[in-house]
């Protein structure tokens, strides 16, 4: 067992890092907020931690804390500005935010190391530390999926107008989502950077968004468990199928496309589906379309976007 762990330590590390990153996007998706800002926050957290560690001689954990908090705050501010956008527009605005972070990092001169990034930020972080932090985040998210809170989140995602009519402050939920996803993304970036000792602008560009999305699509976006499944699959697949290394990007593309077409709920959604069918005896249960991915349906009556859009009564 110990041998296996030692041999695969790096892959395990990568899995945990990928999972944390994916969780920073899974949370907003579960809220119906198409925000990819978590990836940008990964960059902010990583760079901040690296700079604090190498240039300001802050210790490992203070650097991580700084990176996490700064990312969270910036993401919250972003949320204040963009939270009223929906769907694709919000997605693109947050992707733009993420890419701006990369551009700023490239142009940051000696502080950010320009295009080559920062080296030598080897913090005193072990896999165990990462595991503990990950566990804390996962427990927090898991708790938010149950009971009263979980129901309210589901409503905010599937039918914001109904949520408001039930007394839920949808705007505040959306803003808080930005804060939370920023904290998680920042933590992911800070920890990953100090673990690997480097960070470069090339690592925090659109490709990272794609990775995070792929994890969620494959695993299932309705729960942290889906993100875990996805992270494991994405990180371990190349190891298991090492003979297809050359073809990896193509297989990658196929898997993502197929998952988007046939598995809206990812692996988790598929499993839930099968369990549902077995429970109800016959195979007549309708396929459980994954809530978060097929979300924002709104009422099945005329598309609200085409009619005068009623804003929430009162001020911003």
């Amino acid at each position: 067992m110990i041998d296996w762990y030692a041999a695969n330590s790096v892959v395990i590390q990568a899995t945990m890092a990928t999972l944390l990153l994916a969780l920073s996007i899974q949370l907003p998706l579960r809220m119906g907020v198409f925000s990819f800002a978590g990836v940008g926050c990964f960059g902010i957290g990583g760079y901040t931690a690296a700079i604090a560690f190498t240039q300001f001689d802050m210790g490992t954990w203070p650097s991580v804390a700084l990176g996490t908090v700064l990312a969270g705050v910036l993401c919250y501010l972003l949320g204040l500005i963009v939270h009223k956008l929906t769907g694709l527009y919000l997605g693109m605005a947050t992707i733009a935010f993420t890419l701006i972070v990369a551009v700023v990092a490239t142009n940051g001169g000696s502080m950010t190391g320009g295009a080559s990034g920062i080296f030598g930020a080897l913090g005193g972080i072990t896999n165990l530390h990462v595991l503990i932090l990950l566990a804390v985040v996962v427990v927090g998210l898991a708790v938010s999926e149950y009971g009263r809170f979980g129901r309210k989140i589901d409503t905010v995602r599937e039918d914001p107008e109904l949520a408001v009519a039930l007394g839920i402050n949808v705007a505040r939920y959306r803003k808080m989502t930005f804060l939370a996803s920023g904290l998680i993304g920042g933590l992911a970036g800070a920890v990953t950077t100090l673990l690997r000792s480097t960070i470069t602008p090339a690592e925090i560009n659109f490709h990272l968004v794609v990775v995070a999305l792929t994890v969620i699509i494959i695993g299932g976006s309705s729960s942290w468990l889906g993100a875990l499944i996805g992270a494991v699959v994405i990180t371990w697949l190349p190891t298991v199928l090492s003979f297809v290394a050359d073809w990896e990007p193509i297989i990658y593309g196929f898997v993502v496309a197929l998952a988007a077409i046939f598995l809206p709920g990812g692996v988790l959604g598929l499993v839930k589906d099968l369990m549902r069918r077995r429970r109800s005896g016959s195979g007549t249960a309708p396929p459980a379309s994954d809530a978060a991915v097929t979300s924002n349906d709104g009422p099945t009556a005329p598309e609200p976007s085409r009619t005068p859009v009623p804003s929430q009564g009162g001020a911003l």
């Binding site: 589901d154 408001v164 009519a165 039930l166 007394g167 459980a288 099945t300 005068p308 804003s311």
Partner: protein, 257 residues
């Protein structure tokens, strides 16, 4: 502001709308409406499509911004409240199309009515569950507690939605076209439910097409057209009013033939 037709002068108005108007880019959906809802009564709003009834409901619940006018509930002007605060004041609504969480059980859907209004402590959780149970019993759907909405008939889905609204223990219930697509027997059940809620003191505002149901259920009827109030008062008289009949009852009679 006095309501000209307060038919039982002693009953307080729990809700008052004063010169309420909602304009969308040139369209006057609601054009200067004034009326009040006496406590414990069932008030109906009758009107053809496009008369502004649903917009009015949206304005009352603050989902739709007012162009002018005041809204008063329990004596307080709440016209600048944000929409999510309205349920906390005690106003609940149902929607034209039944809106439930399809992936959750009926019980969970009804509990949603309490989730924002009742706290998280152990006692409060118990209270919330009791409220939900009572609400489901009132609407006759407690036997469906563990079912999922997508497996239920339309009539039962309606019941669940009303149960959710009742679980909010509102002081004013807005019901938006509850009987669309229902048969006569089911409509009478809804009517009976509303009257039993009235017996407990709940004030209700119902927006509907079905004239017969309105006449049978409501204490007061308001007839709308083109965003304005044409006639108000006793349901039987309103329905016989020539202006009302001319406006749309002709179409209604043909529709319900």
């Amino acid at each position: 502001m006095s309501s000209p037709w307060n038919d039982s002068g002693e009953t307080p108005m729990i809700f008052e709308a004063d010169d309420v108007a909602v304009h969308f880019g040139g369209v006057k959906a609601v054009d200067g409406l004034s009326f009040g809802l006496p406590e414990g009564k069932i008030v109906g709003i009758l009107g053809p499509n496009g008369s502004g009834k649903s917009t009015l409901v949206g304005a009352i619940t603050r989902h739709v911004p007012l162009t002018r006018g005041t809204l008063r509930f329990l004596g307080e002007d709440y016209g600048s409240d944000r929409a999510h605060l309205v349920p906390h004041r005690g106003i609940a609504r149902t929607f034209q199309t039944v809106r439930l969480l399809e992936e959750r059980t009926v019980l969970e859907n009804v509990l949603l009515g309490t989730d924002s209004l009742v706290g998280g402590g152990r006692d409060e959780r118990r209270r919330a569950h009791e409220r939900a149970q009572v609400a489901m019993q009132r609407t006759g759907c407690e036997h469906l507690a563990k079912e999922r909405p997508d497996e239920l008939s339309y009539g039962n889905r309606r019941r669940v939605e009303i149960a959710r609204a009742i679980a909010m223990e509102p002081k004013l219930l807005l019901v938006d076209e509850p009987t669309a697509g229902m048969g006569r027997a089911e409509k009478e059940e809804v009517s009976a439910l509303m009257m039993s809620l009235r017996a407990e003191g709940l004030t209700q505002l119902i927006v509907e097409h079905d004239v017969q149901m309105m006449v049978d259920t409501c204490d007061i009827l308001l007839a709308m057209n083109f965003g304005k109030l044409i006639v108000e008062g006793d349901p039987r008289e309103v329905v016989r009013n020539p202006a009302v009949q001319e406006a749309y009852l002709g179409k209604q009679a043909v529709k319900h033939a």
